[in-house]
Amino acid sequence: MNRVAVTGLGLVCALGNNVSECWTRLTAGETGIRQLRDPGSPPYKFQVGAEAWYFDAAEHFSEKDLLMLERFAQLAVVAAREAILQSGLSFDGELADRFAVITGSSVGGQFSEEEGYRRLYRENMPRVGPLTIPRTMSNAGASRITLEFGIHGPAYTVSTACSSSNHAIGQAFWMIRSGQVTAALAGGSEAVFAEGLIRAWEAMRVVSPDVCRPFSADRRGLSLGEGAGMVVLENWEHARARGAEILGEIAGFGMSSDAHHITQPCAEGAVKAMRWALKDGQVAPEEIGYINAHGTGTQANDVTETQAIRAVFSENADRLLVSSTKSMHGHTLGAAGAIEAAATLLALKHGVIPPTANFTCPDPACNLNVVANQPCAARIDAALSNTFAFGGLNATLVMRRSENGRI
């Protein structure tokens, strides 16, 4: 089995337009959850979110390109460009056929879909824009990436709500490990601030009217966020042979389904995902030093995740550092796994754990070693990143630190 190196990272979210900007704010404990630009009419029940505040599509795309690319696809492409540029890979040889693109998205191009419905049902116009289909399709970002870079290998998009991009990264990891492809771009993107989708989240009654405060006793729900995260994964020996900087390693991946309830989480499913990921990576629980938690800030998730972590790590659980970076970049749904995997890899690389921002008061039901508000210097060797989706679909990644190719 091949080892799998990470040789490129790309990020766009409420914290910035690239990895450097996002990492600076992540480690400053700076939250990107702020007053929404559009308050809604009548006003939405929640008025805060983590929009990609610094993102200006016109800086990255021609007007013609923008006709074809929805916001979620734009975010995907910009993060992909950063990750591929950092990897130093090019696709003019046989790698083009041996490179995969696997993206995650929960809802695809909502803005175009809603625009179509607006014309049909509000304006009574019988015609919908002819680019609605290519703009809304969930694989629009993946497809554009293949077109832009001339990539001819396997490419597809995974949609498993909030676990989408962990599933995408895990699948790409397995494809490289088994030798199906040499390298892959994997991750996800989401653009959630479309009116209909905001109303749908409002109706779910899980969004906090305040900023999200994962694991804090006074938490009132999640904060929605938009963004994209992409990683370039590569056959370890291939990366070594070309002298690429190895930023970290994907070591294991585990999945499970709760088969319990369509929205209520259950600890058993989360336990299984973490255990399978550790087993898959042949990593012992005591080797894990940090967990980037799913940590949505809802009452149900944070308690359930705490129980699951305690079940998997037993006496080691007290020693584990845990944070939820959703407190800063928001819950980016289909992009969450990828943005958080990037945060986890950067934490391993730099020896700094990004905190759980907005934390005010410990909750006895969430009695984990939560890194609260301030970053924490910690040189750790291996970490987990959890995603638990509505529908009970769980996906956990295990990552390892690398010192430029050496473990």
């Binding site: 021609s62 007007e63 013609k64 006709l67 015609r127 824009g129 002819p130 680019l131 290519p134």
Partner: protein
């Protein structure tokens, strides 16, 4: 001076809609331009048809779209449909 004939009002109107839809300068389009020269592919084509339908209040049949490969084809198609529309007896007029 370009070699093509000066566009009439309808041609100029169609060219304006195509330029806006394609995000290209109006001056880069003449009545003699083909879609191929303007790098208008089939997907661009349906987007242009959509804009023209909205602009002129037309319903362009699918088979009519296949024949539009140049600005002139498009202008003549629009001219014909507008004429047909004018001749049609408005509902309730009798």
């Amino acid at each position: 001076m370009p070699e093509h004939a000066e566009p009439d009002d309808l041609s100029a109107h169609v060219i304006r809609v195509i330029a806006q839809t394609q995000r290209i300068p109006q001056e880069s389009i003449s009545v003699d331009s083909t879609f191929e020269e303007l790098k208008i592919d089939s997907l661009d084509g349906i987007n242009i048809i959509f804009a023209i339908e909205n602009e002129f209040g037309l319903n362009i049949p699918d088979e009519g779209v296949q024949n539009m490969r140049s600005i002139r084809d498009t202008v003549e198609g629009v001219r014909r449909l507008l004429a047909e529309q004018k001749q049609a007896v408005p509902p309730g007029a009798a």
